[in-house]
C-alpha cells in the first residue's frame, strides 16, 4: 500500500501467481503460519512491502513480528488495565499478602523463551536470504559515499554517475523536473536492471554514511576501511527515492539519491549511451558524466542551505 516509489513506476505487473495460492491456502495459512503464505495477505503496517526480492523477505519477517508483538502487547496491556481498574482501592480491607507462585513464575519465564526462539529462527532464515550474494550478478556497481554525495561506478563499463548533495543528474530522463534543495531533489541516480541481480559494493571516501533505500527495506553503512557487498533484485521497474541515514556532518539531511530500475533492454541501452558519451574523458569518467548531466552546481546548493 505504501509500496509506491516516488516517481511513476514504468510498469506495475500484478501478482498473478499468488492469487490462486491465496484462494485455496489462504485461510489455512493465516491460521497456521502467516509467514509461509507470502506477503500479499500480510498487512503492511505502514511499511514498504519490499520492491526487491530480498526486501520482500524482510517485509514478511517484519509484518509477522508486528503481528506477534501486537498479540503479546495486547495481552499485557489487558492484564495491566484489568489490574488497574479491577483492584482500585475500595475499602481499607487488607489484601492478602501473597508473594510467590512458583508454577506461574516458571510459566511466564518459559513462554517468552519459546516466543523469542521462534523469532530467532525466522530471523536467521531471513537474514541469510537477505544477505546472500549471487555468484553471477548481471551488473556490478561500486557505490562510494562521500561528504556529501554519491558516486556510482559501473565496474568494467567505464560508466559512472556522480552527484553531490541535492543534485538531480536525472540519468535516464524519467523525471525531468527542476530540483530545489530539500524540496524535491532526488539526488544522483543509481540505475539498475529490473528482474536481474545487481551487485552493490559499498565503500566510503571519508566518514560513516548510511546507504538506505526505504522501498527496498534495506540499509547498510558505508564504513571507511570496510567494503560491504550485497545484492538487489528489483522486482519492477520504477524510481525509488533514497537517502543517507547515518549522520555524516553538515549536509547529512540533504544527501539524497535514487534508484532507477529499468527494463533490462532499456538499461543496456542507457549503459551504451553513457559509454559513448564518456569515451573521450576515459581517465575521468565521473567528472564528465557529472558535468554533462547535472542541473545545479553543488556550490549554489550549499549556499542556499
Amino acid at each position: 500500500m505504501t509500496d509506491k516509489p516516488t516517481g511513476k513506476p514504468a510498469d506495475q505487473a500484478p501478482h498473478k501467481g499468488s492469487s490462486l495460492l491465496r484462494r485455496y491456502l489462504g485461510p489455512l495459512g493465516i491460521l497456521a503460519l502467516p509467514l509461509m503464505l507470502g506477503g500479499c495477505t500480510l498487512p503492511s503496517f505502514y511499511g514498504f512491502r519490499g520492491a526487491t526480492k530480498q526486501g520482500h523477505d524482510s517485509f514478511l519477517l517484519f509484518s509477522g513480528t508486528v503481528i506477534a508483538a501486537i498479540v503479546v502487547g495486547t495481552i499485557v496491556v489487558l492484564l495491566i488495565l484489568w489490574a488497574v481498574l479491577r483492584y482500585r482501592r475500595r475499602s481499607d480491607e487488607m489484601p492478602k499478602q501473597f508473594q510467590y507462585h512458583i508454577p506461574l513464575e516458571i510459566t511466564y519465564t518459559v513462554i517468552p523463551i519459546l516466543i523469542v526462539l521462534a523469532l530467532f529462527g525466522f530471523t536467521v532464515v531471513t537474514e541469510n536470504a537477505v544477505d546472500a550474494v549471487s555468484p553471477h550478478p548481471a551488473v556490478a556497481v561500486k557505490v562510494t559515499a562521500f561528504q556529501w554525495g554519491w558516486r556510482f561506478d559501473y565496474s568494467g563499463q567505464h560508466v559512472s554517475v556522480l552527484g553531490e548533495t541535492t543534485q538531480d543528474p536525472d540519468p535516464v530522463g524519467l523525471n525531468g523536473r527542476p530540483c530545489a534543495p530539500a524540496v524535491d531533489c532526488l539526488g544522483p541516480g543509481l540505475v539498475m536492471p529490473a528482474g536481474e541481480t545487481t551487485r552493490i559494493t559499498l565503500v566510503s571516501a571519508d566518514v560513516v554514511h548510511g546507504f538506505y533505500v526505504p522501498a527496498f527495506n534495506f540499509s547498510r553503512y558505508a564504513l571507511p576501511g570496510v567494503t560491504n557487498v550485497f545484492d538487489f533484485t528489483v522486482k519492477h521497474p520504477g524510481i525509488y527515492r533514497a537517502q543517507c541515514t547515518q549522520f555524516c556532518g553538515l549536509y547529512h539531511a540533504l544527501m539524497f539519491f535514487h534508484v532507477v530500475a529499468l527494463p533490462p533492454a532499456q538499461f543496456r541501452a542507457w549503459l551504451r549511451s553513457e559509454q559513448a558519451s564518456s569515451q573521450p574523458a576515459a581517465s575521468h569518467p565521473a567528472a564528465s558524466v557529472a558535468s554533462s548531466r547535472q542541473g545545479s552546481p553543488a556550490a549554489s546548493v550549499k549556499a542556499a542551505a
Binding site: 508483538a69 488497574v84 487488607m94 499478602q97 501473597f98 508473594q99 519465564t109 530467532f120 564504513l223
Partner: protein, 573 residues
C-alpha cells in the same frame, strides 16, 4: 562492618550535634549524602529542562518541511546536545547521583555513604563536566555536532574541528570518573553498611538494582573513558587509532563505544525499574510479587547486556549477526519477568492512584511498547529496514522517556515528602501526569510511522510531498503538550515551597526503611531502627498482623499466621 547498634535500641551518640555550616557554605562543603544527593538532583533537573527546551526547538523546526527556523549547523548542534545532555548528564546522574545517593544509605540503614568525601568529589566532577559540555555553545565553532555517539572519523580533527568537540570529549572524561566513583561508593555502601538484619535478600529492589547498576558502571564507563582518551589523542597527539590513513580502524570506535553504550542503556534503566518496583507495592498494599525472581531477572539483564553491544552495529556488515541477535532477544525474557512481577503485585491489591502510582502505570505502558519494538530491532533484517530512521527515535524515546521521565518523576513525587518533609499537591501532580501522558503518545506514535515511511533520524529538514508533514506536525504538537505539563510540575514545587504542608515520616504507609525515620531525616539518618525481618521492615513494624505469606498462601489460609519470607538468623536478630 555494620556500623549501627543492635535492634531495637535507640542509637547512641548521634543526635543533632553537628553544628556544620549552613546556607551556601553547607552546599559547597557538605559530605552528607543527602545534601550531595539533592545537589545532584537539582543540577540534573536543570539539565533536563535545558535539554527539554532544545527538544522543543528541534520539534518546532521539524513541524514543517524545509523549515528555516534553524540552520543545518544549529540543528545538528542542538540534537547532539539534546541527546548528550539527556543521557550523560540527566538520566544517569539523576538516578545514581541523585535519588540513589539520597535513598540508598537510608534504605540499607546506614548513616552515610561509605566514602563521603569521594561522594562529594563525584558531584563536583559531575558539575564541572556538565558546565564543560555546555560551554561548547560559547566557542567560535559552536557546540559539538556529531550526535551523542561521536562516531569516528566524523569526530576527528579534520571533520569536526573546533573546541566544542574537545569540550564534549573532556566533559565525558570528567563525568565518566564521577560515575565510576559513585559506582564504587554504592557497591561498598550496599555490601558493608547494611543495618543489622538487613540481609541481601531483604534489600529493597531499588537498592538491589542500584547495586547491579553500580557494577555495570564499573564495567562500562572505563571503556568509554578509554575511547574518549583515544579520540582525544587522535585529534591532538597525531595518533591514528581510529583513522584509516594511519592504519587505524574506524569501526573499533563503534565497538568500544557500544561496549559502553549498551550497558549504559541498562545503567539508565535499572535504577528506574528499581523505583517503580519500590513504589507499586506501596500503593497496592502488597509485597512485591516474585521478589527473588525480580532480583535474578535484574542480574541476568545485566549479564546479558554486556554481550549485546553489536546490535547497534547490525548494518555495519562486520558483526556476527546471529550471536548478537540471540543475546539481544534473550533480554526480553528477564524483562518480561519484571512485567509479570509488576502486574502480579497489583493483582488483588488495594491500589490507590496517587501521583507516584499514576506515573508508574504510565511507565508500564510506555516501556511495554518501547520494549516490544526493541525486540523487533534485535532481529537484524528488521533492523536493516528501520536502522537510523524515526522508528528507532520512537523506540528509544519510549524506553528512555518511559524510564527516566515517567519512572523518574514517579520516584520524585514519591520521595519528595521524605526529602523535604512536605507534601506535593495531588491535583497538580495529576494534571502534570495526564498532560504528559497524552503528550507522550501523541509525540512518539507518529514517529514510528515516519520511520517506516523512510524518514531518517538526525535530519534538520525534509522534503515535502512524501507524506511526512502531517505526522511531524502531530509529533510536534505532542511535544508542546509535554512542555506544558512541566509548567504544572514547576507550579507544584512552587506551591509546596510557599505553602508547605507537613508530610510526616510515612505519608504513603510505605514499606522500606527510609520511611521509618523523620522527614527529612536527621543528620546521620536514624535515631532508632525497627527490626528488619523481611524486605518491608517499616510495613512489618506498623502492620504486625499483615506479614508476607511465603507461597500462594493456600497453606496458611489466612493472613495473620503467614510465615515470613527468608526468616533466617533468629527470631529478633
Amino acid at each position: 562492618m555494620t556500623l549501627l547498634a543492635e535492634h531495637p535500641a535507640v542509637l547512641h551518640g548521634h543526635p543533632e550535634h553537628h553544628e556544620g555550616p549552613t546556607g551556601v557554605l553547607k552546599w559547597l562543603t557538605s559530605t552528607d549524602h543527602k545534601v550531595i544527593g539533592l545537589s545532584y538532583m537539582i543540577t540534573s533537573l536543570v539539565i533536563f529542562f535545558i535539554a527539554g527546551g532544545m527538544a522543543i526547538l528541534l520539534r518546532v523546526q521539524l513541524a514543517s518541511p524545509h523549515s528555516s527556523l534553524l540552520s543545518l549547523q544549529q540543528y545538528n548542534e542542538l540534537f547532539t546536545m539534546h541527546g548528550s545532555l539527556m543521557l550523560y548528564l540527566f538520566a544517569g546522574p539523576f538516578a545514581f547521583g541523585g535519588l540513589a545517593n539520597y535513598i540508598i544509605p537510608l534504605q540499607v540503614g546506614a548513616p552515610d555513604m561509605a566514602f563521603p568525601r569521594l561522594n562529594a568529589l563525584s558531584y563536583w566532577l559531575y558539575l564541572t563536566g556538565s558546565i564543560t559540555m555546555l560551554m561548547g555553545f560559547f566557542t567560535a565553532g559552536g557546540a559539538a555536532a556529531f550526535a551523542w555517539v561521536a562516531y569516528a572519523p566524523l569526530s576527528s580533527a579534520i571533520h569536526s574541528p573546533g573546541a566544542g568537540a574537545d569540550l564534549w570529549i573532556v566533559s565525558l572524561l570528567l563525568t565518566g570518573f564521577s560515575a565510576v566513583f559513585t559506582g564504587v561508593n554504592l557497591v561498598t555502601t550496599i555490601f558493608y553498611l547494611r543495618a543489622p538484619g538487613m540481609t541481601m535478600f531483604r534489600l529493597p529492589i531499588f537498592t538491589w538494582n542500584m547495586l547491579v547498576t553500580a557494577i555495570l558502571i564499573l564495567i562500562a564507563f572505563p571503556v568509554l573513558t578509554a575511547a574518549m582518551v583515544f579520540l582525544f589523542a587522535d585529534r591532538h597527539f597525531g595518533t591514528h587509532i581510529f583513522s584509516v590513513k594511519g592504519g587505524g580502524v574506524p569501526v573499533l570506535y563503534q565497538h568500544l563505544f557500544w561496549f559502553f553504550g549498551h550497558p549504559e542503556v541498562y545503567i539508565l534503566a535499572l535504577p528506574y525499574f528499581g523505583m517503580v518496583t519500590d513504589i507499586i507495592p506501596v500503593f497496592s498494599r502488597k509485597p512485591l510479587f516474585g521478589y527473588k525472581g525480580m532480583v535474578f531477572a535484574t542480574m541476568s539483564i545485566a549479564a546479558l547486556s554486556t554481550g549485546v553491544w553489536a546490535h547497534h552495529m547490525f548494518t555495519t556488515g562486520v558483526v556476527l549477526l546471529p550471536f548478537f541477535s540471540l543475546m539481544s532477544l534473550l533480554i526480553a525474557v528477564p524483562t518480561g519477568i519484571k512485567f509479570f512481577n509488576w502486574i502480579g503485585t497489583m493483582w488483588r491489591g488495594q491500589i490507590r492512584f496517587d501521583t507516584p502510582m499514576l506515573f508508574c502505570v504510565g511507565f508500564l505502558l510506555a516501556f511495554l511498547m518501547g520494549g516490544l519494538t526493541g525486540v523487533m530491532l534485535a532481529s537484524p533484517p528488521i533492523d536493516f529496514l528501520t536502522h537510523d530512521t524515526y522508528f528507532v527515535v520512537a523506540h528509544f524515546h519510549q524506553v528512555l522517556f518511559g524510564t527516566a521521565v515517567f519512572a523518574g518523576f514517579a520516584g520524585f513525587y514519591f520521595w519528595f515528602p521524605k526529602m523535604f518533609g512536605r507534601k506535593l499537591n495531588e491535583p497538580l501532580g495529576k494534571i502534570h501526569f495526564w498532560l504528559m501522558f497524552i503528550g507522550f503518545w501523541v509525540t512518539y506514535l507518529p514517529m514510528y510511522v515516519l520511520g517506516l515511511k523512510g524518514m531518517p533520524r538526525r535530519v534538520a529538514t525534509y522534503p515535502s510531498g512524501l507524506g511526512w508533514h502531517l505526522l511531524n506536525q502531530v509529533a510536534s504538537l505532542g511535544s508542546y503538550l509535554i512542555a506544558i505539563s512541566f509548567l504544572f510540575f514547576l507550579w507544584n514545587i512552587w506551591t509546596s515551597w510557599r505553602h508547605p504542608v507537613a508530610a510526616g515520616a510515612n505519608p504513603w504507609d510505605a514499606h522500606t526503611l527510609e520511611w521509618f525515620t523523620s522527614s527529612p531525616p536527621p543528620h546521620h539518618n536514624y535515631l532508632k531502627l525497627p527490626p528488619v525481618r523481611s524486605e518491608r521492615p517499616t510495613w512489618d513494624y506498623f502492620h504486625p498482623d499483615a506479614r508476607t505469606i511465603s507461597h500462594n498462601g493456600r497453606r496458611n489460609g489466612h493472613v495473620k499466621v503467614g510465615a515470613e519470607v527468608g526468616s533466617t538468623g533468629g527470631s529478633d536478630q
